[in-house]
Symmetry: D2
Amino acid sequence: MLDDDIRTTTSATILADGDGDSPRRTGVWFIGGRGSVATTATLGLHAVSRGLAPETGLVSQLEEVAQAGLVGFDSLVVGGHDVGTHSLADRAAELAEGGVFHPALVAALREELDAADRRIRPGVPAGGHQREASDRIQQDLTAFRDEHGLDRVVVVDVSSTEPPAPDHPALHDLDRLEQELDAGRAPLPPSSLYSYAAFRAGCPVVAFTPSTGPNIPALADLAKEAEVPWAGRDGKTGETLVKATLAPLFARRALHVRSWAAMNLLGGGDGRTLAEPAAAVSKTTTKALTVQSIVGYPVEGPVRIDYVEDLGDWKTAWDHITFDGFLGTRMTMQFTWQGCDSALAAPLVLDLARLVARAHEVGESGPLAPLGFFFKEPIGASTHALDEQWATLTRWCARLAPTP
Amino acid sequence: MLDDDIRTTTSATILADGDGDSPRRTGVWFIGGRGSVATTATLGLHAVSRGLAPETGLVSQLEEVAQAGLVGFDSLVVGGHDVGTHSLADRAAELAEGGVFHPALVAALREELDAADRRIRPGVPAGGHQREASDRIQQDLTAFRDEHGLDRVVVVDVSSTEPPAPDHPALHDLDRLEQELDAGRAPLPPSSLYSYAAFRAGCPVVAFTPSTGPNIPALADLAKEAEVPWAGRDGKTGETLVKATLAPLFARRALHVRSWAAMNLLGGGDGRTLAEPAAAVSKTTTKALTVQSIVGYPVEGPVRIDYVEDLGDWKTAWDHITFDGFLGTRMTMQFTWQGCDSALAAPLVLDLARLVARAHEVGESGPLAPLGFFFKEPIGASTHALDEQWATLTRWCARLAPTP
Amino acid sequence: MLDDDIRTTTSATILADGDGDSPRRTGVWFIGGRGSVATTATLGLHAVSRGLAPETGLVSQLEEVAQAGLVGFDSLVVGGHDVGTHSLADRAAELAEGGVFHPALVAALREELDAADRRIRPGVPAGGHQREASDRIQQDLTAFRDEHGLDRVVVVDVSSTEPPAPDHPALHDLDRLEQELDAGRAPLPPSSLYSYAAFRAGCPVVAFTPSTGPNIPALADLAKEAEVPWAGRDGKTGETLVKATLAPLFARRALHVRSWAAMNLLGGGDGRTLAEPAAAVSKTTTKALTVQSIVGYPVEGPVRIDYVEDLGDWKTAWDHITFDGFLGTRMTMQFTWQGCDSALAAPLVLDLARLVARAHEVGESGPLAPLGFFFKEPIGASTHALDEQWATLTRWCARLAPTP
Amino acid sequence: MLDDDIRTTTSATILADGDGDSPRRTGVWFIGGRGSVATTATLGLHAVSRGLAPETGLVSQLEEVAQAGLVGFDSLVVGGHDVGTHSLADRAAELAEGGVFHPALVAALREELDAADRRIRPGVPAGGHQREASDRIQQDLTAFRDEHGLDRVVVVDVSSTEPPAPDHPALHDLDRLEQELDAGRAPLPPSSLYSYAAFRAGCPVVAFTPSTGPNIPALADLAKEAEVPWAGRDGKTGETLVKATLAPLFARRALHVRSWAAMNLLGGGDGRTLAEPAAAVSKTTTKALTVQSIVGYPVEGPVRIDYVEDLGDWKTAWDHITFDGFLGTRMTMQFTWQGCDSALAAPLVLDLARLVARAHEVGESGPLAPLGFFFKEPIGASTHALDEQWATLTRWCARLAPTP
Ligand SMILES: NC(=O)c1ccc[n+]([C@@H]2O[C@H](COP(=O)([O-])OP(=O)(O)OC[C@H]3O[C@@H](n4cnc5c(N)ncnc54)[C@H](O)[C@@H]3O)[C@@H](O)[C@H]2O)c1
Ligand SMILES: NC(=O)c1ccc[n+]([C@@H]2O[C@H](COP(=O)([O-])OP(=O)(O)OC[C@H]3O[C@@H](n4cnc5c(N)ncnc54)[C@H](O)[C@@H]3O)[C@@H](O)[C@H]2O)c1
Ligand SMILES: NC(=O)c1ccc[n+]([C@@H]2O[C@H](COP(=O)([O-])OP(=O)(O)OC[C@H]3O[C@@H](n4cnc5c(N)ncnc54)[C@H](O)[C@@H]3O)[C@@H](O)[C@H]2O)c1
Ligand SMILES: NC(=O)c1ccc[n+]([C@@H]2O[C@H](COP(=O)([O-])OP(=O)(O)OC[C@H]3O[C@@H](n4cnc5c(N)ncnc54)[C@H](O)[C@@H]3O)[C@@H](O)[C@H]2O)c1
Ligand code: NA
Ligand code: NA
């Protein structure tokens, strides 16, 4: 059961020329590069590199994962697209004021933030002439790679969550998609346009948001064709993370879950976006799957995401669970999670960039099922249980390990 | 890391003559047979056998565990020792009134309860002439086995938690122990006396309480010598179960746990016993180990058990956790668990009896490390993480599986 | 500030002929007489009368309230309307199975339940010829009064919550309303039709639901004209009760409430009704007013009501509050309320019937502001703070007290 | 019932010469002047005076309280005793780092903090020659009053909680006490020695800690004799505040409280002190009284205070309440309070200094029962219910109001 998630893994012998220690320069290209997650990741990358902060939260620094032979933090260069124009330093100052990290870090890393800021290019809005937009994105990616002498560039989508995209035949068929783009039309939601351009430019993609992104048949085919790997979707950082950890308890103790209700309160930019019901649909859909998929039967209960401006980046979730034990005895569990969203997401984004870069290096392509550990909706994988995902991830990392 | 817990497993070939379907009659002998856990287990065994209740809560009925080839519920016969004299039916009625199970079950199973009641023999108090007491216990066990034509009898300790036993040289040396017993002295706490007698009678032991029981060098040697397996200690049913499930989340996401405080409120007989500080020491000690052992560093925070008579069997636990994320950001999680203690413990007691019986059947002896999944203090095992314990348990069950 | 709520109170001298001890027979007529609240109230009335249950939950038995000189439980006779046809005894058995009260009470009071059952008349649906329907309701009320020799009948609306009623000129003008009814039309929502008929029959009304009921100008005028008192609306039994108690803490300690988010989970018949968004609007609107009205400024935060079938009558609410203290320090409070809705509502319904009957006896008419203590939306009163409501209620009861 | 708390109130005519607007210079003398509460109060006083912070948390700025005619913040001068020697500015910086207030305030008010620092005199330890110590304290107080031209000095005890003092005949008899002091002995706990010296110097006292302080017969007599008022004891800032607010809900709804369990987690200096069981006794005793006193019958349940260093000043309390409703139905409520202790206590300390100064001005003496609103153990008052305390406080303030 654990093994079916690691279909894509290449054999250890191919890894022989991979070398965990060689200075492989790698680009991390953030779609939404001026957002909270990207800003925290950018600042944090430099803080950790320069020894100003510990490695807390970085899964890729745990021995079981690091064994994969990942690129060093020193070798990462950050760039990105964003439709916003505020400076990274300003956003970082705001986040520090909101308690996401210590203000001293912003002062100490001002130069690094400004340099990264200059590498952020204007994003593309919805609609327009998507062939032209795609060409421009590819040029940005290629220019970035060339200018910084990068071995590869991983595109990481951390832009605002989109509403679910209306269906279109072009999403299901790559040829049809190319025709539409050539015709100057705009069949793709922006997140998918970025993925299209990334794959065309030979770049792996991390879909950290619940938006459509690479997750349509036409782009899945393109990724295979272009021989690039991708991973998604929707980073698992808070309430769903706890669900994925707790639900196995009920399954393995043969306790019957009768209801699981979830309320999420959040402020911040992401909260504002999700306050719009259309965008929230993408999110609550991916969140609701977790429990049912782990226990193996439908479980009633609402999943709510509500905007509370005052909470800022501090997402607060309350879950209430009723379950039956032996002889039908009814019991209850509830938890409250008070997490800082950007501080939880940022290290995962760096972990994913490093892991996907390594997968690219050893020649993997298509959806990377072993990365399900990181996602609310683990594309290509069959389990939502965190423990099984961890076992799968670490076995995969062991296989990616460079031979000594 | 996972594998070091299954040292005791015998090879699959030995299992060839084990046959999961043959009618192997097995005795379950409860020390504390009139207590809440034993009463619920006795009632529940018959309720499930007769199809009056679903299999909820029975881990041994999950496919991954059942594959070990376990004795059927129909083939279990319950007996026991207790120092109390109230009837099983009366205790069952009390538990039903307290909401532990439906009153209709007590009415429907009145006959079975009365029959089991007649198989409960007077327990032994602390002190006295322990050689004589031990002989009497052995006779009780042998008579039970003979009278009911049992293939084996598993002794399950679900009696009141003892205060920690004072140390004595006889606890560390089997010869010395025998001399003390022969001399008419009483070096053993009652729980260990029962284990001694069980081993001498060739019976496997399940130490479901935090009392000393079989967990002293002299008895460990005796079990090996007598070639009987045993498992312990202290059933993991509530707050510690959640700890064992949640702590891995922090470890695997590289989140640093700064404090973990736990308050347990409980009424009932067990609550009354633990309200005495001396008895509580045994319990809070085993509970505190879990988190530290999983995350790998010391974590501050009190562990409290308080008696609230009004709660009866409904144990309520509140845990409050503080942790650091990326860049040192402080976050908080808390949970409240409202579980029915006896309803949680009773099925595990049946699971353990079946699993230990199977281990005995295939010739295992000594502490059964793969059963750590069930215990707060998993004797012989190195991990407290529930997911690793599950993986170990199910692999062990696969090896015990009868060859077709 | 406290005093402006008791405008309607008549002077103590008028009360001279009121006599708290005389056997004044009083009818309690439930709209929704077969629902959970009405069933629990009916059963409970008899349980308390016959000494089978303590007076827990009955505010009208507290000395400060009882001093008003209320009719005895023995002198209450229950009847009602309902559109459903299941028997009271069946509903009571269901509620007992769900843990609302002990099954033994249902057995012991079977006769009383059956007698009450026979006094429940068919309810009226929405629409139809409302003059005819009203006439029939009035006849039912008058027949009940005559048959049982009652001094008065208090009509208590505990029927299913309606969606908000569409506005209509007839709701604002009694003459216009009469014309519409005469013309065979149906301008009123059912809850208001019952109130219309009650007032016409000279009966006081308790609006325990959030439905429109008597709370429209045309009916307010009618009540004055008919010289009958009424009280409303929406019984305050759970989360709002806690809000009304806690919000004054913040106000009086000058702590600034920044957000107050509320999630309500409930099953049962009421939960099913509220699961329909249209009906929920009535409820969330009255719930949201409380905090803002007490602290005196707008407070952000969602108010959710979600249906979780499994919870049955056990409403579970979680509220999360953020607030500022001295120097702007941010703090948090949260609470979880696990209440049994019908057990909380039923005694209030009896309290209100007794209090409104007493008000009628002493000649009060129109909305009874001093009863705000009982309601989420206290008609006629200016405060939502429970402590001020309590002070107002008890002072009013002191004035209603029969002179010795 | 409400009125019996305001026995000490002088009549309004006496207040005629009191004038709320005249510049009455008032000293606030902190015992424990370098502690967290005193530091926050000192910083906050200047922050509010200079308009750098809003008046949040200051009860004395609410209209109902301010009407008493209180001295302006500009007219307060801070001094104190402390046995510690760290600077106020250093402690303030630490508190800011711990999130108690914004670091910018420390920078902006550096000068004011340093000036206050210079007015803190060495404290007296336990034991020694208490007559000499008392003389020195009186000299410090008199010198402070003279140097700053103060109309009066209010002594506020915010020093570390003492263990309960051993009883001694001198505590019960003022003459006997004087003899002991003259004889060079040390019968008083330090907190009471400070109170003794304060009363001798004609200064009112606020006992904000649970220590003995003025609360012994000998000192009560001295205060009367010296015609100075005092108030105490143990500021009500967190879990007890919520208890005092919530318990009336149960009382007034006739709900029967069956158990009320409380767990308090706290770090900081106060937490460290209370981690010593002897000191904690003073605290848990005053905390446990609240509920029982409000509902009027004994309620079982533990009250725990545990030290969790990591929490710093952020006290986290969890309370779990079980109660019966109508027909004996069992229900549950729980709350979690996450408050910043110093930010909650500091404004109350300023409120109390202003209110006690006003009482002194109008000639009140002895324990000020109307200030029970502020204390866990309200000396001289009969109620613990926050709402009744609020009513009493505001009526008292109305009587203190200067005539226009
Ligand atoms: N923080 C978490 O824990 C977490 C977890 C899972 C998923 N996510 C997802 O990550 C994303 C980012 O979250 P955030 O908190 O940083 O949000 P944010 O609002 O702070 O940042 C989003 C950024 O995307 C930019 N953007 C919007 N449309 C764009 C476009 N078409 N092209 C380029 N840039 C565009 C915005 O200008 C903004 O700077 C969200 O979709 C969120 O749902 C976050
Ligand atoms: N219920 C749970 O979730 C759980 C979990 C882990 C461990 N346990 C442990 O299981 C044990 C039983 O719990 P319970 O709730 O049934 O308690 P209980 O008090 O209801 O029952 C204990 C029984 O042991 C009997 N007993 C006491 N001393 C004895 C002796 N010397 N010989 C024989 N019998 C003796 C008592 O008379 C009583 O009938 C306790 O030690 C408890 O700590 C329970
Ligand atoms: N239980 C509480 O704590 C509480 C608190 C405040 C308000 N309320 C309100 O009390 C009402 C009753 O709650 P419940 O739990 O008993 O609900 P319920 O669904 O069990 O009962 C409602 C009853 O009303 C009847 N009914 C529906 N339409 C009718 C009509 N037109 N004429 C006559 N009868 C009609 C139904 O047949 C049903 O028997 C609801 O409106 C609820 O919102 C309840
Ligand atoms: N913060 C709250 O919410 C709160 C509420 C109620 C009561 N209290 C009480 O207020 C007191 C102060 O709390 P804190 O958090 O500021 O504690 P703290 O430990 O930060 O400060 C106490 C100060 O008292 C000084 N001190 C000790 N013994 C002394 C002595 N003999 N003479 C003079 N100074 C002495 C210490 O040096 C220290 O500076 C404690 O007793 C606490 O229990 C606080
Ligand atoms: Na797990
Ligand atoms: Na109150």
